[in-house]
């Protein structure tokens, strides 16, 4: 309710009285040598407290989640237009803006590289000069069976090249935070972040501080979707705080700055060859993917790993050869975005399935169903699908839906000047970090003196509702009303360490830790109550809302009585959970140290119905039905909400969202030109959930934040092929192409 009435305080709503304002001056050019950054005039402006440049950064001056190659403030080279060249601290936002405009930069432009293929060509300008390996950030191979020879035995082989663009998260709350230096020279910070526990180390490393002296708090986020996974304001803000003399400093990116400097979904190019028997049984896949990392590694290698693990879609393909590369360019920085590489892979393989269906004269849904991964099958990366694996069930669910079943009748009723088509797609999405690092969370649970419970949540809630799910879980596990459960939002001082809010992992990982802590709490409550009730068999006691009851004697003791009698240490229960990993990892993908492969996957399928306007080429998404299998459904409203939100972002990816990056510069750098779906652009997004049961999950559930994002793009593409014969190979589909496709038929 606090969010519904606007009473919830987001990071951006925190403005300690008298706080300073910090802001970065961005390079504005994609590639340049820094000759000088002149700050004298800016410093002289009244109200300016400090103007800092790269030379003022203590520590490594490098940030990056896995690979540290991104400076906090650039010193010698600008590598993309959003690089920060200076940082200003001022008494007011007006003074800040004034100072930022007075900073003069002397930059010598360098030839840039704006295309990942060209980046890998011999003689291409280097993004990191002198780097061994040049612009090739990473290259990897995933193989199963013997794809090259298997193609010889295929009756039908299709081939295609596909492109997906960068995508902007467009969360509504811009990156922001507030920080100050503590007396001991540490930092305390509140930020809109998906990974407060990791931020401490990022800041510590970049600025040469003891990470344990950095305290980060993460209130509810106004959206994240991966775009707040990794440092946005954190290191700059901490640096500013070091110069704030103990005063609070606030930094809030404008929308334009968010476009310029924020992370994007990686643009990708994917070449696919897919072979099958005449009956439509998949035999072989050969796939090469190339990702545009932008100038810094950030999460490109890990995203590429996940893309490769999903390159074959949720299908059984005996022989695969999947090659991945990612290249440095002077484009905006690529990063995590809901679907983490899978969205790109999914579009390509689903489109290849469409052309295969056409070549075979098969129904695209039947072809998918025939090849869907079943429990025990090995996916394209050689990972066994544990039960349940609901790929087939999801497909069956959407195939049974009227949107698919009655498509012929619906298409036949197309109004004048409109053409209709319907498409189907399937997807899957791994959950968790995968091998190479522990996907862990520790939960702390406190019985308050008043007899209620406090859950110390360690993983931020960016809107997916995990905090509410935790309250629900704890209430159920402790047999209390949900009103008796308070969820404390992440604070690295109060809560125990956990990984980030990402990879569809939060409810599963922290949820499991929390359920264990609740178990310990139940034991404790009974043991302590036994003292009050003089019951020598604590097991016969029962926990009821607000009390522990001895059924045998009818006596009871209230939780507030227990709470008020215990020392704080004794009122706390702690437990942890580490996500299991694949036991016998396949002998492939050796290049990946982290994040390959995964043990659990959620599944999805999607049907989209579109209507194309013959006069304008405009495409209207008329229906979108998504089925997901994400283990057991604990909170069906929660599942529906995640599916609808994901489908909306998928629909934007399919039809609208285009940053127009030219020569490293984003042309659509505001919400006026970068269009995300409004309420008028989306149909009612229908959701069908398929029950599964993940034996290791809390209440049998798996993660499901991401799987719903993949369906709309390929399903819309297929629907358009159905409607107007357009063979869409790149996103977003634009009206011009649609018009041309229709023109070809009707001169």
């Amino acid at each position: 309710m606090s969010k519904a009435v606007g009473a919830e305080r987001f990071s951006t709503d925190i403005a300690p009285p008298g706080c300073l304002w910090a802001g970065a001056r961005r390079a504005g050019v994609p590639h340049a040598r820094v000759v000088a950054v002149h700050t004298r005039e800016a410093r002289a402006l009244p109200g300016v407290v400090a103007v800092l440049t790269g030379a003022d950064v203590p520590g490594a001056n490098l940030q990056g989640i896995v690979h540290k190659d991104q400076p906090v403030l650039v010193t010698d080279t600008v590598r993309h237009a959003g690089d920060a060249v200076a940082l200003v601290l001022a008494e007011s936002r007006e003074a800040l803006a004034g100072a930022l405009s007075l900073i003069r930069t002397e930059l010598v432009p360098l030839p840039g590289v704006f295309d990942p293929e060209q980046a890998l060509a011999p003689g291409a300008p280097l993004v990191h000069s002198g780097r061994e390996g040049g612009n090739l950030l990473a290259h990897a191979l995933v193989e199963k069976g013997d794809a090259p020879s298997a193609f010889a035995g295929c009756d039908v082989v299709v081939e295609g090249r596909f492109e997906t663009p960068m995508q902007e998260h467009a969360f509504l709350e811009p990156p922001n935070g507030t920080a100050r230096m503590t007396r001991d020279g540490g930092i305390e910070m509140t930020a809109s972040t998906q990974a407060p526990f990791r931020d401490r180390f990022e800041i510590g490393h970049a600025l040469g501080l003891n990470p344990m002296r950095v305290r980060v708090r993460a209130p509810y986020l106004g959206g994240g979707f991966g775009g707040k996974d990794g440092a946005t304001v954190q290191c700059l803000l901490a640096l500013a705080a070091l110069h704030g003399g103990g005063r609070w400093v606030k930094m809030c990116w404008s929308r334009g700055e968010t476009f310029l400097a924020g992370y994007k979904r990686h643009a990708a190019r994917v070449r696919v060859r897919l072979g099958a028997s005449r009956q439509g049984t998949l035999q072989a896949l050969d796939c090469a993917m190339l990702f545009d990392s932008g100038p810094y590694a950030h999460l490109a290698v890990e995203i590429m790993a996940l893309a490769m693990e999903h390159a074959g879609g949720p299908y059984l393909i005996p022989h695969t050869r999947i090659e991945g590369s990612c290249a440095y360019t002077n484009n905006p920085v690529g990063g995590a975005f809901r679907g983490f590489g899978v969205a790109q892979a999914s579009f390509a393989v689903e489109r290849a399935m469409d052309s295969l269906a056409q070549r075979l004269g098969m129904d695209p849904a039947e072809l998918r169903l025939k090849n869907a991964l079943r429990p025990g099958d090995l996916n394209c990366a050689g990972v066994p699908m544990e039960s349940p694996a609901g790929a087939a069930e999801c497909l069956e669910a959407v195939m049974a839906h009227p949107a698919w079943k009655e498509r012929d009748a619906w298409k036949a009723q197309a109004p004048a000047c409109k053409r209709r088509g319907v498409g189907i797609a399937a997807s899957f999405n791994a959950m968790g970090y995968g091998r190479g690092l522990p996907d862990a969370a520790a939960a702390k649970l406190e019985l308050t003196k008043g007899g209620t419970f406090r859950v110390f949540n360690s993983v931020p809630d960016m809107g997916q509702g995990n905090a509410a799910a935790f309250a629900l879980m704890a209430a159920e596990a402790l047999n209390q009303e949900t009103a008796a459960i308070e969820v404390v939002q992440p604070d690295t001082r109060l809560c125990l360490p956990a990984g980030s809010s990402s990879a569809s992992r939060t409810t599963y990982t922290f949820g499991n830790a929390l359920l264990k802590a609740c178990g310990a709490m139940r034991e404790k409550l009974k043991a302590r109550a036994a003292l009050f009730l003089l019951a020598d068999e604590p097991d016969r006691l029962a926990i009821r809302p607000g009390a522990v009851v001895d059924e045998a004697t009818g006596r009871s003791v209230s939780l507030s009585q227990i709470g008020s009698m215990l020392q704080r240490d004794d009122r706390i229960c702690i437990d942890q959970f580490v996500m299991p990993v694949v036991e016998n990892p396949p002998d492939t993908g050796k290049e990946f140290r982290l994040g390959f492969p995964h043990r659990m996957y959620s599944h999805g399928a999607c049907v989209c119905a579109v209507e194309a306007d013959e006069l304008t080429g405009q495409v209207e998404l008329v229906r979108c039905v998504t089925a997901v299998e994400c283990g057991r459904v604990f909170d069906s409203l929660g599942v529906e909400r995640q599916v609808q939100g994901a489908a909306a972002q998928g629909a934007g990816f399919a039809l609208l969202e285009d940053l127009h990056v030219e020569e490293g510069l984003i042309r659509a750098d505001g919400l006026d030109r970068y269009l995300i779906p409004t309420a008028l652009d989306l149909p009612p997004l229908e959701c069908v959930s398929v029950e599964g049961d993940e034996p290791t999950g809390p209440h049998g559930l798996k993660g499901m934040g991401e799987v719903g994002v993949h369906g709309p793009a390929p399903a819309v593409a297929q629907a358009l092929e159905d409607a107007v014969g357009l063979v869409a190979r790149r996103l977003p589909v634009n009206p011009q192409e649609v018009l041309e496709a229709m023109g070809g038929e009707k001169p």
């Binding site: 969010k3 519904a4 009435v5 505001g670 409004t678």
Partner: protein, 161 residues
């Protein structure tokens, strides 16, 4: 200070008298000077609707308004619609329908819906969609929001009977 003006207007029913520079954006005036943080800033350029407030009953984007434009007006923010303990039926419907995910767009949405329902107490779904089409939400796909609008319209209809 020179260049300052004294403004008087009502904010959520209470009279406000404040000295400010006439060029100050209303969103800053309300959030920073008056401390009402339900008004959110998402874009600062009139595209997202997060900063919407009711000015004389009409939903307006406070990031595009200057303080001087408030003189003599009646301003209502999401805080003025209702509170946690006494939510407006629209806010209650948003919470019940699951129309709130991250919640950042919500105050602006509910303000837009308040204007709609004042104008049209029993809207069709497409009218609800139209009314909120100036408010971006990146989390929900709008389905539950439209559900909430319909529920709120019903609840408010009953109340007035």
């Amino acid at each position: 200070m020179s260049g300052m003006v004294t403004l008087t207007f009502t904010l959520n029913g209470a009279p406000v008298r404040i000295e400010t520079s006439p060029g100050r954006r209303v969103v800053d005036l309300i959030r920073e000077d008056l401390g009402l943080t339900a008004v959110k800033e998402g874009c600062g350029s009139g595209e997202c609707g997060a900063c919407a407030v009711l000015v004389d009953g009409v939903a307006r984007l406070s990031c595009l308004m200057l303080a001087a434009q408030l003189e003599g007006r009646e301003v209502v923010t999401a805080e003025g619609l209702g509170t946690i303990d006494d939510p407006h039926p629209i806010q209650a419907a948003f919470a019940a329908a699951g129309a709130v995910q991250c919640g950042y767009c919500t105050p602006g949405m509910t303000v837009a819906v308040a204007e709609l329902l004042a104008r049209n107490p029993s809207p069709q779904r497409h009218e609800a969609r139209e009314a909120i089409s100036g408010n971006l939400c990146r989390c929900t796909g709008y389905v539950k929001i439209v559900d909430a609008v319909m529920d709120a319209a019903q609840a408010m209809g009953k109340e007035t009977k």
